[in-house]
């Protein structure tokens, strides 16, 4: 255990849960112990509804960056501030960093089961994101994980895995699909999937937007 003298960095080496999250965990622990709930059943309920918080905020950030070079420059320089311009910010003051995919570099984000997920822009973490196999394999064998997700990248594309920390959350800026030059921000945002912003997927191509 690390005791940091500087209160500002209290949680740098430990994990942190908000007051409400602690109380919910307490309920969940007790109810599970007593057999009232099954954590797997909870996951099913959450999964059913998780799309409703949705990655739409993040998709708007990406679409804006694709269309607006000035915004993109601000986003790459200071993602927290640029994302706040669109009205999305966390309560705990975590910092956001945007990592950009290019033809030679693909970024992928991994984290732990605590709260290190950029939920103000991506909503609830998918169940697989919190799973041990994803967390360990993403680091050891990112190309294999991508393949499981149906993504095969050219061997010339390097894959970089970013490990979120309590204080730094990552958002992948995927490459803009070709043939989308004429699209507006809303139409572009519809192409941006949650997984493409975690790096385990690619944006939809035009015509495949729901």
């Amino acid at each position: 255990m690390n005791d940091h003298p500087d209160s500002h960095h209290d949680h740098e080496h430990g994990s942190e849960l908000s007051e409400a999250a602690l109380r919910v965990r307490a309920l969940e622990t007790i109810l599970t112990e007593k057999g009232y709930i099954d954590p797997a059943a909870l996951d099913v309920i959450i999964e059913t509804y998780e799309t409703k918080i949705g990655p739409r905020n993040g998709a708007r950030v990406v679409a804006r960056a694709w269309r607006d070079a000035d915004f993109k420059a601000r986003l790459m320089a200071d993602a927290t501030a640029a994302i706040a311009e669109l009205g999305y910010s966390g309560r705990q003051g975590e910092h956001m960093r945007v990592v950009e995919n290019t033809p030679v570099l693909h970024n992928m984000v991994v984290c732990t089961l605590c709260s290190c997920y950029p939920w103000p822009v991506l909503g609830l973490p998918p169940v697989w994101y919190k799973s041990t196999p994803y967390r360990s394999r993403a680091v050891i064998d990112p190309r294999g994980v991508l393949k499981d997700f149906g993504v095969e990248l050219p061997v010339t594309t390097r894959i970089r895995v970013w490990d979120s920390t309590a204080e730094m959350r990552y958002l992948v800026l995927p490459m803009r699909p070709s043939g989308t030059e004429g699209l507006g921000e809303e139409e572009l945002a519809a192409l941006v999937t949650r997984d493409s912003m975690i790096g385990t997927g690619l944006p939809l191509s035009e015509g495949r937007a729901r």
């Binding site: 255990m1 690390n2 949680h11 080496h13 430990g14 994990s15 942190e16 849960l17 908000s18 409400a20 999250a21 602690l22 109380r23 919910v24 965990r25 307490a26 309920l27 969940e28 622990t29 007790i30 109810l31 007593k34 009232y36 709930i37 099954d38 059943a41 909870l42 309920i45 959450i46 509804y49 998780e50 799309t51 409703k52 918080i53 949705g54 309560r91 732990t112 089961l113 605590c114 709260s115 290190c116 997920y117 939920w119 103000p120 909503g123 609830l124 973490p125 041990t132 490990d163 920390t165 309590a166």
Partner: protein, 117 residues
């Protein structure tokens, strides 16, 4: 079925496609409530009563804060657990979180307080 039940909760934050959550714990509290209802711990009428009482008593405030309070009160009233036990396990989670290096799963079961009872 569930959608019909949820419609009975007037102010549930939602958009055209269903409930919306701002933070993961809100969805977890929401899911816990549905799971307990499925298990027959309380009826939906009891739940809406508990929630509306909470909202009435608190006046203004955050919807899911009210939700969480209502859920805590209801499980205590149904004698599923006690308020003391809720505090105790909450504290165990906090200690476990602080003691857990980032990147490791937080496990309060390694903490004696969470094992009791």
């Amino acid at each position: 079925m569930r959608e019909a039940l949820l419609d009975m909760i007037g102010d549930l934050p939602r958009d055209a496609s269903g409930p919306v959550f701002r933070e993961p714990w809100e969805a977890e509290a929401f899911a816990l409530t549905l799971a307990l209802y499925d298990k027959g711990v309380f009826s939906w009428a009891e739940w809406t009563e508990a929630l509306s009482q909470e909202i009435k008593a608190a006046g203004a405030g955050d919807y899911y804060d009210h939700w969480l309070h209502a859920l805590e009160h209801l499980v205590v009233r149904k004698q599923v657990t006690t308020q003391d036990r809720l505090y105790e396990v909450r504290d165990a989670w906090e200690r476990a979180a602080h003691a857990t290096p980032h990147g490791e799963p937080i496990d309060p079961a390694s903490n004696s307080a969470a094992r009791r009872g």
